[in-house]
Amino acid sequence: MTTATDTPMLSPSFNLSRVIADAIKLEMEADERIVVLGEDVGRQGGVFGSTRGLQKAFGDRRVRDMPISEMAFTGMGVGLAMSGYRPMIEIMFVDFIGVCLEQVYNAIAKNPYMSGGRVPMPVVIKTAGGCIGSAAQHSQCLWGTFAHLPGMHVVAPSSPYDAKGLMAAALRSDDPVIYIEHKGLLLSKLGDFPHGAEVPKGRYTVPIGEAATVRDGRDVTIATLSASVRDALVAADELAGQGIDVEVVDLRSVVPLDADHVAASAARTGRLLVVDEDYLGFGLSGELITRVLELLGPGALRGIARHGVANVPIPAARSLEQAVVPGSASIAAAVRELVARG
């Protein structure tokens, strides 16, 4: 994170997807081994615009529209990496990973290990997660699914600054990286982000695996990521008016999981709430709470809690969706409940 304060900055009227496209462009200029394969990444520049302009800049060999054949083109990432390229594979929505998980977890994630380190897999899987109203098959996050399977870094940025820096880090990494954008953030303007809204024009990286405290507080630590960081900050503002001082930690990546950072914060505040837009069970929240307690000892905290999509598919109707997906109001309620416990 080396950015001088007088660096030229991207316009606050840009949206997040443009920042991501910009990050990819800078890395592709610097490294011609990077190629981008996916549906609608070329002529359209991505359904949310996060690869816009790349095909124009680099041609249709390096930025290629694919048929709806995710197994084939995810596997192409394996062959390309073995041939010395650094492929970025776009799976439009993370919900579709079920048609090609095989190449992701049995090849991309394991080839470095199975080859005894001889075959690195510098592959970025870029995909979009999160709820924007499209029900059970188009609203998932699934970072917990990837995190359970060894061999992949899993990042899910919350801010424009991180989105660019983590994309650059992912493209420069020699390890496989799953990069999960949030659909609900991609079209937001930089100026509207509560944190990390200032984005330098030049190249920089945000190291993968380091959490960041985005709001200091004394009473309770919220650890979360992706779009929920924004919601947690809104909740924290509301709670401040009610005398509850919330610290918000942005995990930024699920693997590696910066449990040290969260543990240090929770040790100070005494309470930990994990907020997760992914399914609650058998995922991030249980893992993070367990790791923090492993670090601090089981009795170290006054309170632990988690809040997320409680093991139910995402329903279609807005009324139902709001009942299952965490938002600022439900986060604030979860904090109040945790604090009320003592």
């Binding site: 359209q44 048929p67 197994m71 579709f96 029900a135 279609a316 109707a317 139902l320 299952v324």
Partner: protein, 317 residues
Amino acid sequence: MTLDLMTYYRHMLRIRHFEEACLSGVASGEIHGELHTAIGQEAIAAGMVGILRDDDALVSTHRNHGHGIAKGVPLEPMLAEIFEKETGLCGGFGGHMHLFDPDRLFSTTGIVGATLPVALGHAYAAFLDGSDAVAVAVSGDGGVNTGGFHESLNLAGALKLPLVVLVENNDWAISVVSSEVSAVGSAERAPAYAAWGTRVDGTDPAAVAVAFAEAVARARRGEGPAIVEATAQRFRGHYEGDPDLYRTPELKEAMAAKDPLVIARRELEAQGIGTDHLDDLVAESQAQIDAILARVRAAEQPDPSRAHDHVFTGGVA
């Protein structure tokens, strides 16, 4: 096997008006998720009308409203589901991409290519039942490049199962031109599956009906799978909100000339049907959908306290 053009015209009008009702729900914010309409492709669904029985299965895609209408799914619960209402087919839990009408063996999925495996299961059920029911899977021209397409058609071919694959070829898979990423056309793939294949003009409901009826009849007779590829145009963006910048204004104009409703109306007029009569038909269809829309709008969203129902028959784990 075909119906008269006037009847097709009415079916197409109903589908168009239904789709337009959906558009109004996006504009009003009542539909808050993705919406895909088949405006421009109505003749394909219209051509299917009357050929399938209730015990034939139909598994459709993200662009599914016309197929539901063709299968006889009642319009009001279907529209209510799309409008996320508790009176919907699925009580508002499913939404536009996930319509289920078990009484008519109609279902849909939002995952491209996922229709064929499910339809294959219905086809196997017909085989187990010893019945002559068939199963139809809809696919777009993009969906034919998925692995599930191949796996399912191969199995249907090997076991001679009554699987009919209706490929709606509108040239585009979102922004990807299908011919640029497909080695051969969909109908041409039939021999690889020992299937029967044909391609028809999907702006002509009677042509669709002839081909589809033949495919269904063959399957019913135990002659195995078939691929019917019907060509037509998608007039709007892939989904509502798609800026559709990947298609030029010239192309869009050329596409508009292939509006199946305009073509049919021109033909009906040429047959001597009066403009007034046709206008009456349009108004009648519109009124019917308007009445349904009004009732759908008046219905409630599902109660949020129900959000954890239906995960398991015995409640959430």
